[in-house]
Symmetry: C2
Subunit: 209 residues, 2 copies
């Protein structure tokens, strides 16, 4: 059974509102994804993403009825924080969280699409680099970009990565990728909706770390 398939994202309602509780419960299984990358180097990233989730949840639990949807949280924080917003609270945490989620999404999509380095067919560096360039690079200064390049060397082989996604079981590559494609449907829709939310509320920032 695939790691991803066990905790699928739900289908969005027509108005694309994201239920906070359901989102938090599902997304809390995502940091384990970084264990599939094998190296201990990635536990650092896992903690960063875990921190984002903890921060959003911490706001949610103070008033679940008020914060039913992710939009409710952003709107309430905009009211509460004045000029500090959006670089504050759950709004900031979700801003970064969605980038990490997008990184994973593009990486998986790229594998599902069969993007491949013909000279190194068992590496996934091209797929990771594509995901990094589209989801994160512009928010990273040149030193973090250099650190990414070093960390890339710790990326697992394609075969090991697919095996890890299947929880260590030997499943056929095509079966694993079919699972990935299935997972991506609602996952991608959810991330797209969060990005739309940030655009609509003018909550997106582009400072670099």
């Amino acid at each position: 059974m695939s790691l991803l398939m066990e905790n699928q994202f739900g289908e969005l309602p027509p108005d694309k509102a994201i239920d906070t509780k359901t989102f938090l419960d599902t997304v809390s299984h995502i940091p384990a994804f970084f264990d599939c990358l094998g190296s201990k180097v990635f536990t650092i990233i896992k903690s960063d993403i875990n921190g984002n989730i903890t921060k959003v949840r911490a706001v949610y639990v103070t008033n679940p009825a008020k914060y039913t949807t992710l939009e409710d949280i952003l709107v309430a924080e905009r009211e509460a924080h004045g000029a500090e917003w959006p670089k504050v609270g759950a709004t900031l945490a979700l801003m970064w969280l969605k980038r990490g989620l997008r990184f994973i999404q593009i990486l998986l999509q790229s594998l599902a699409d069969g993007d491949r380095d013909e000279n190194n067919p068992n590496l996934i560096r091209v797929n990771i680099t594509k995901a990094y360039e589209q989801a994160l690079k512009r928010y990273h200064g040149w030193i973090v970009q250099k650190i990414f390049n070093a960390a890339l060397l710790a990326a697992p082989y394609r075969s090991n990565f697919l095996k890890a996604l299947s929880k260590g079981e030997e499943v056929k590559e095509e079966d694993c990728l079919a699972n990935v494609r299935q997972f991506l449907v609602n996952y991608t829709a959810t991330i797209d909706a969060i990005y739309e939310l940030y655009t609509n509320l003018n909550a997106e920032l582009d400072y670099t770390v």
Copy 2:
């Protein structure tokens, strides 16, 4: 007033036993040291060290009377955890914490000693590299070593670093270094005592991350 001088380590008793509560209270001011390095890149390291401290404290608070000294904790965990020990609990957290503390100690000592790159007198890369080589490098695999080399580029200028150590006040370099030397006396003795403890209890590990 110097950041370091405000939270000096106490003098050790003749038997070199380290009082857990005093140690935890003093060492909890150390992670702020990494803010002196200026770049956001180092907040990652700050969290790692903060995590170590939190883990030791979590064990301590379960039974302060039982865990009066750091040695008490290690001995109790050796009893409790069998073959897993010492790669477990507060023993593991303190094992890594002492390496981070040693890194800071050697860096400060090197500055106090006047080690300097004559061609780049306003850089502290030689001092950081010396500290890294002596305290941490052997516990890092080649990829983390590469990441270190990238992170080194984010190191602050010497003048800015000394200013940050003095909490942003313009103090004379010699006054700042005199503070550093004063701080190092008990700080170094405390770290030495923790290293001795690990040697005596055969609790040191040399696996790499």
